[in-house]
């Protein structure tokens, strides 16, 4: 194994750590929202600085490999995609923290009836299964798995769209401010799903040298 391969492997391990950290943040975030667990919500915030530190470590590694080892072809694509995935993951973790902050600062839980009606549990399960797919496709270098998330992202968009319409009917029954926090959380989950989709596209770029982003908009 040459030096470049060693550095690439080490970078891959760090990025996998980042994936796992973000995955764990989101699993906790789901519990915080659904069970109004303010302790877990606080824990998410306290772990956020580890995500930020890891982001900087990965950036630095990418920079060093580019400057010192001049990667080309699949190695170059890996470093470029890692650089972008790293930033997307940091954003996804930020969103988990932001959702957790709503819970930590709220005085009351989101009403069970509204959570059920808006299918928040299903949406979070869908989102977390997207993270699992992304991690599996990254570890196994399998673009078929990465491609699974595009459909799932569309389903997240649907949950988000429906939630906007459905929540209005609860405005007279429950605390409106609380409902707006919930709706904002749903919007944020949808946005985090877009980031996972971008990560899937980067994994495909790394492994197949195909640029698939923005393709949908053209057709």
């Amino acid at each position: 194994m040459n030096n470049l391969e060693k550095e690439i492997n080490s970078l891959k391990k760090e990025l996998l750590n980042m994936f796992l950290l973000v995955e764990s943040q989101w699993k906790k975030s789901a519990i915080a929202i659904l069970e109004f667990d303010q302790d877990i919500a606080e824990e998410i915030s306290s772990i956020e600085n580890r995500v930020n530190a890891l982001e900087i470590t990965i950036d630095k590694k990418c920079e060093n490999i580019l400057a010192l080892l001049s990667p080309v072809a699949i190695d170059l694509r890996f470093v470029l995609s890692t650089y972008k995935i790293n930033h997307e993951l940091e954003r996804v973790a930020d969103i988990a923290e932001s959702i957790a902050n709503y819970v930590a600062n709220n005085e009351e839980a989101y009403p069970k009836e509204v959570l059920e009606n808006l299918q928040v549990n299903d949406m979070l399960n869908e989102f977390n299964s997207m993270i699992d797919d992304i991690i599996e496709s990254f570890e196994e270098e399998d673009t078929k798995i990465a491609r699974k998330i595009f459909k799932k992202d569309k389903r997240l968009n649907e949950y988000n769209k429906n939630a906007g319409k459905s929540i209005i009917k609860f405005f007279d029954k429950y605390n409106r401010e609380n409902l707006m926090y919930l709706l904002s959380s749903i919007r944020k989950i949808e946005r985090a799903g877009d980031s996972l989709k971008n990560i899937g596209e980067e994994i495909i770029f790394h492994l197949e040298a195909k640029v698939i982003k923005h393709k949908e908009k053209k057709t």
Binding site: N2, L4, S70, V72, A73, I74, D75, L76, R77
Partner: protein, 251 residues
């Protein structure tokens, strides 16, 4: 873009050993094409086909055609001396003659029988300007070329080649004996020269190939494995052997 050179069904043998196998390639005019591959892959043999340098090797034998500007240069009626007026070559190590700078650059013109001093002066100056050496040597044209640094000597050899105004430049690892500063100067020069010349360069330096060439051909054990635009070769090569070579996983 226009095709300047075409290699058709090229096989090359040294006695029983086959150095190149069924090579087919088209070279664009006013472009730099890099030939890369591990030692012994046949790239230098291939480069030397374009000015018939291999003709001097007793065991050399070939099939196929090298077509330059529509004419097969291996046809019997081709005058090799005439052919070489249009094809300059720069070698791995600078090889200036033990003569003055002026005599080195004007050498090719003089053996063509040109004696007009004004003409020679103009051509020498132009060639030295083209090779980015004029400002460094304009007051020392009578000094020995051997007093120049390695990088200057190599640019002098390029000037000597350019003075006869060839159309094609063949370069066989032209910077392998130079330091990074001299290498950067020669690379910049190659970049400028492609406006007027068709350049084929053999290099072992992957980064150099990626920096200076428009097209890259990867050779391995006598076969042309992949030939494409340089950015394609270095970002998404189609062949796994190309990828393994340029990423340093073999060779």
């Amino acid at each position: 873009m226009k095709t300047k050179i075409e290699a058709k069904n090229i096989d090359v043998f040294y006695g029983d050993f086959q150095a190149l196998r069924n090579i087919n390639m088209q070279f664009e005019e006013n472009a730099v094409t890099a030939l890369i591959g591990p030692s012994g892959c046949g790239k230098s043999t291939y480069l030397r086909l374009f000015n018939r340098m291999n003709d001097y090797i007793d065991s050399f034998n070939m099939n196929g055609e090298i077509v330059i500007d529509g004419k097969n240069i291996y046809e019997k009626n081709v005058l090799v001396d005439e052919l070489r007026k249009g094809i300059g070559m720069v070698f791995q190590k600078p090889n200036p003659f033990p003569k003055s700078i002026f005599e080195n650059v004007s050498y090719g013109l003089k053996i063509q029988g040109i004696k007009d001093k004004d003409f020679l002066n103009r051509r020498v100056r132009k060639a030295l300007e083209q090779s980015a050496l004029w400002d460094e040597v304009k007051n020392d044209l009578d000094k020995s070329a051997l007093a120049l640094s390695g990088g200057q000597q190599q640019r002098l050899c390029i000037a000597r080649t350019l003075a006869v105004e060839p159309k094609i430049l063949l370069m066989d690892e032209p910077t392998s004996a130079l330091d990074p500063i001299a290498t950067a100067k020669v690379e910049e020069l190659i970049h400028q020269l492609k406006e007027k010349y068709t350049i084929i360069i053999v290099t072992h330096n992957m980064q150099q190939a990626s920096r200076i060439s428009d097209f890259t051909a990867f050779f391995y054990m006598g076969d042309l494995i992949e030939y494409d635009k340089t950015d394609t070769i270095f970002t998404k090569p189609k062949n796994e052997r190309t990828q393994n070579y340029i990423t340093g996983r073999f060779g």
